[in-house]
């Protein structure tokens, strides 16, 4: 789903080395095709599956995006970049882009912000109960988007749901979570943030625990209090982790689908229809517009791939701090 962690890439480079200095002479020569046969048999099944279901569809997806595909019968007419130009001038497309950006900003700010705060609390050694807190906080990691959607659909329900009841206890008249076009965006964002939080805390906590304890000691000796230590030691040392979380959260939020499908079905109207959801609607609901769906999928994919590559590059520069 997402590129690997910075830690991993450094592991790769160090562990490659012993293999590249072969201790037996014949290995230094370039392996022959005949010699390679056995290795090919080992990797063949993997590349067969990836070839048919990942590499080929990339090209096929682009080809489809250059065609208009008849809703029934699948007859194709080549239209060049027409699907793209029509998309870029369609207010509906930009509407889905806006929704995607809303989810993205909401997820990035809250899922990362809360996660870092929680991870700092969890990193303080406690004599007891630590395990219980962690269990409760990490649990959304194994929850599917469908389950998250169902659980929150109950909580948002105006009659039997709990959110508005709890809000009323503190004197707030709760909104129509799923039927107001503004609040439905918030409702979906809360659900996405909730599901993403456990993962973010795990990553942030791992990052915090790798920070050299001597830095804290030094800051303490210099008279820095807890807040100043967090601000001047933890957060700066955590930048590579935060950057990683940023990328993962941007990508995950752009791909939000299950929660939307269950909570709002993209509505009310098109209020919570993000790009992915529109791809699904165009491709699979009612009259199919496979060409247009593919064009949108391709634009979204370009964005996600771009972000992933930026992450790879950013990491190689930013990761070294000490």
């Amino acid at each position: 789903m997402t590129p690997k962690h910075s830690e991993e890439s450094s592991v790769t480079t160090t562990s490659i080395k012993p293999q590249e200095t072969p201790d037996t002479a014949p290995k230094a020569r370039k392996p022959t095709w005949r010699h390679s046969g056995k290795a090919f048999l080992f990797v063949l099944p993997t590349f067969l599956v990836l070839g048919v279901f990942v590499y080929f569809p990339i090209i096929e997806s682009f080809r489809l995006s250059l065609n208009r595909v008849a809703p029934f019968g699948g007859k194709e007419i080549f239209v060049g970049l027409n699907n793209y130009t029509r998309l870029l001038s369609s207010p509906q497309f930009w509407g889905t882009v806006k929704v995607s950006i809303f989810f993205m900003v909401g997820t990035v700010v809250f899922a990362i912000g809360f996660a870092v705060a929680i991870a700092i609390l969890l990193s303080i050694p406690l004599k007891r109960f630590s395990w219980y807190y962690r269990t409760a906080i990490f649990i959304p990691v194994v929850i599917s988007s469908a389950i998250a959607g169902v659980l929150f659909r109950l909580l948002y329900n105006p009659v039997v749901g709990f959110f508005n009841y709890w809000l009323s206890l503190i004197g707030i008249d709760g909104p129509n979570w799923l039927t107001s076009s503004t609040w439905s965006l918030v409702a979906v964002t809360i659900t996405v943030v909730w599901r993403q939080l456990g993962f973010n805390v795990i990553i942030a906590l791992a990052g915090i625990q790798q920070i050299d304890a001597q830095l804290y000691e030094a800051a303490k000796v210099d008279g820095a209090g807890a807040m100043r230590r967090i601000w001047h030691v933890t957060l700066p040392m955590l930048t590579p982790t935060l950057f990683f979380l940023l990328v993962v959260n941007v990508i995950t939020s752009l791909q939000a689908f299950g929660e939307i499908n269950i909570l709002t079905d993209g509505g009310p109207g098109k209020a919570t229809t993000n790009i992915v959801y529109q791809v699904f609607v165009d491709g699979f609901v009612g009259t199919h517009f496979v060409g247009r769906a593919s064009a949108q999928a391709f634009l979204l994919a370009l964005l996600i791939i771009g972000i992933s590559i930026a992450q790879f590059k950013g990491f190689s520069k930013k990761v070294h701090y000490q």
Partner: protein, 302 residues
């Protein structure tokens, strides 16, 4: 001094040293733990609330849920009828069976193929190795959105919609799994391989009898990832199945929600959600440490 005295003194001295170690820290520290406990308790409860609410509501009788003016978390009377209803009214046994088959096939295939390819990339020198490896890693950044429409068309054209083959076939291999296995295999000293070779072991024998048992930790971590990702799949099973008998648990739950919500039967819906969630919750509770470590190390959650 008698022996009894000595043991008493020993018993006392142990907590005493602990006490002393803590005194080295500022004394207000211990008092300072309380606010941390409190905040973590509140945060933990807030995060767990959706699951706690669902859990209790799944045991609450329907009249109680709709009849109360202010919602309560705990049921007044406990009932199992919601589970009975979910189990019967919607074919949940069938959904669960479908999910177990789909998840089982995907997980086993991904683990096996990843071990094979990971072994080749770790141990063999062959033509095109570097290029193949780059192509493999490159596929990690291809989002599913890009591939699922052509895959849908292909799988439907092959007549595999609404079949287990159709549910599983696009996911039988995992580039991430190959990468993870390769990384781990490369950390095993190559001398072991050379020694086994000298003793006349075949590559096949070495892989399954020596490498795999040594890599149990990494393999089980990847198995957990693969299992969770497959069980929690949503978009693909949604588009590739439209017959009720072939729906997976996640998709079945979605349609169960749509049907029962009209009847405001939230107890049954939550019972359904609990049933679908239970396998992943079990995995989480049993393998939490391993799962968390795996996520922290790879930055992936399957």
């Amino acid at each position: 001094m008698t022996t009894a005295d000595m043991t008493a003194a020993d018993a006392q001295s142990t907590p005493l040293t602990v006490e002393l170690e803590h005194d080295a820290e500022p004394t207000k520290r211990r008092f300072g733990e309380l606010p941390i406990h409190l905040s973590l308790l509140i945060i933990g409860l807030i995060i767990a609330v959706p699951i706690i609410v669902a859990f209790f509501m799944s045991f609450t009788p329907l009249p109680e849920i709709v009849g109360r003016s202010d919602p309560k978390i705990l049921p007044d009377t406990w009932t199992l009828e919601n589970y009975d209803k979910a189990w019967r009214a919607s074919p949940f046994p069938r959904y669960m069976l479908n999910s177990f088959i789909q998840t089982g096939v995907i997980t086993i295939a991904q683990v096996l193929l990843s071990i094979l390819a990971g072994f080749a990339f770790a141990m063999f020198e062959f033509r095109g190795k570097a290029i193949l490896f780059s192509i493999l890693i490159g596929s990690l950044i291809i989002p599913f959105e890009l591939t699922f429409i052509p895959n849908f068309l292909l799988v439907s054209d092959l007549g595999l919609a609404n079949t287990y083959a159709g549910l599983t076939i696009p996911f039988l291999a995992s580039a991430f799994g190959v990468f993870m296995m390769r990384q781990f295999f490369m950390s095993i000293p190559r001398d072991l391989y050379d020694a086994a070779k000298i003793d006349g072991a075949s590559d096949w024998f070495y892989l399954w009898r020596i490498m795999v048992p040594l890599s149990k930790g990494a393999i089980s971590a990847f198995t957990i990832f693969a299992f969770l990702a497959a069980w929690n799949q949503y978009l693909w099973p949604l588009v590739i199945t439209n017959e009720e008998s072939m729906r997976t648990a996640q998709i079945g739950l979605r349609f169960f929600l749509v049907n029962q919500e009209r009847a405001t039967d939230w107890g049954a819906i939550m019972a359904g959600a609990m049933i679908v969630m239970i396998p992943t919750l079990i995995v989480f509770l049993v393998a939490q440490r391993q799962l968390v470590k795996g996520i922290a190390m790879t930055g992936l959650k399957g």
